[in-house]
């Protein structure tokens, strides 16, 4: 029996449906430490007392949903790897404010190379402030290299 992933069926069943929602409040000192360790030097990222203090733009990439796949998502057979991260920044993220992070599957697609087919899964986490304004989104890309047919 083939373990090939039915990408079109997965897209039809799971794309663009929020499957996870978590609340998070960033700590100012941790946010500053994150920025400093990355090499940021501007006070708006490194000094919690700065009037424009905010999270560095890539910080949303560190947030995790409570689950990686929607409920009922089939087990995917193959070698899985973290393929990348993308962050879209819309508004500054301020520590100390309760944020809501909602995650959905944004895309599923394939690429085929010499070693076979690879399936990419893109989870998008959208981060909202208490007024429901979208502050940022973070895409997590994972790739599964399918096992060749025996």
């Amino acid at each position: 029996m083939s373990d090939a992933i039915d990408v079109e069926a997965l897209r039809a069943a799971y794309l663009n449906q929020v499957f996870d929602e978590v609340e998070v409040t960033l700590d100012a000192e941790e946010t500053a430490a994150y920025a400093v360790s990355c090499g940021e030097v501007a006070a708006c990222f490194t000094d919690p007392s700065d009037p424009d203090f905010q999270a560095p733009p890539t910080l949303p990439a560190r947030l995790h949903p409570s689950r990686r796949r929607p409920k009922g998502f089939p087990k995917v057979v193959g070698l899985g790897m973290d393929a990348g991260k993308a962050v879209h920044c819309h508004r500054p993220i301020r520590p100390g404010i309760k944020l809501t992070a909602k995650t959905h599957m944004h895309d599923i697609y394939t690429k085929t190379g010499r070693s076979g087919r690879m399936v990419f899964f893109i989870n998008r986490m959208e981060i909202f402030d208490p007024d429901g304004q979208l502050l940022a989104s973070a895409d997590t890309s994972s790739v599964v290299r399918e096992r060749p047919e025996q």
Binding site: E30, T31, A33, Y34, A35, V36, S37, C38, G39, E40, V41, A42, F45, P56, P57, T58, L59, A61, R62, D82, A83, G84, K85, A86, V87, H88, C89, D139
Partner: protein
């Protein structure tokens, strides 16, 4: 040299290379702040036991290096987007270089597109990506 606005930028400009701190102590500080603390990032022996070449700089930290490099070049830049592909591991305690080149710009909107890479001492690309940022007019 840092830039203050879009008029200071030309297509093809190379950003000043940034050599980030990849020491074990700094990576430990990062993973603590990121709540990503795991031995594969903070302990060379534990990482090797997992089959890795040594403790790893987390991919999200490499992404943070890329953003910091843009801010060092253009302190007033507002980063709109950073897309990063993790091609190969960046190993803790091994020097790496953050490189960038302006591949597109729009003087009307103040937006620039920058191709970014993280390279090691051998000149191998470990991480690459693209960023879009807005600069003052």
């Amino acid at each position: 040299m840092s830039v203050n606005g879009i008029t200071d930028v030309e297509f093809g400009d190379t950003l000043p290379v940034f050599d980030p701190d990849t020491s074990l102590a700094n990576v430990a500080r990062f993973v603590e702040a990121a709540h990503w603390n795991a031995p594969r990032f903070t302990d060379h022996e534990a990482a090797r036991a997992e089959g890795l070449p040594g403790a790893l700089v987390p991919g999200i930290m490499s992404q943070g290096f890329l953003a910091a490099m843009i801010h060092r070049w253009a302190p007033k830049a507002e980063i709109l987007y950073v897309d990063t592909v993790f091609r190969a591991p960046v190993v803790v305690d091994q020097p790496c270089h953050i490189n960038g080149v302006v591949t597109d710009l729009d003087e009307a909107t103040g937006e620039v597109e920058i191709d970014l890479t993280v390279t090691n001492e051998a000149g191998e690309t470990r991480v690459f990506g693209t960023a879009r940022a807005r600069l003052p007019n």
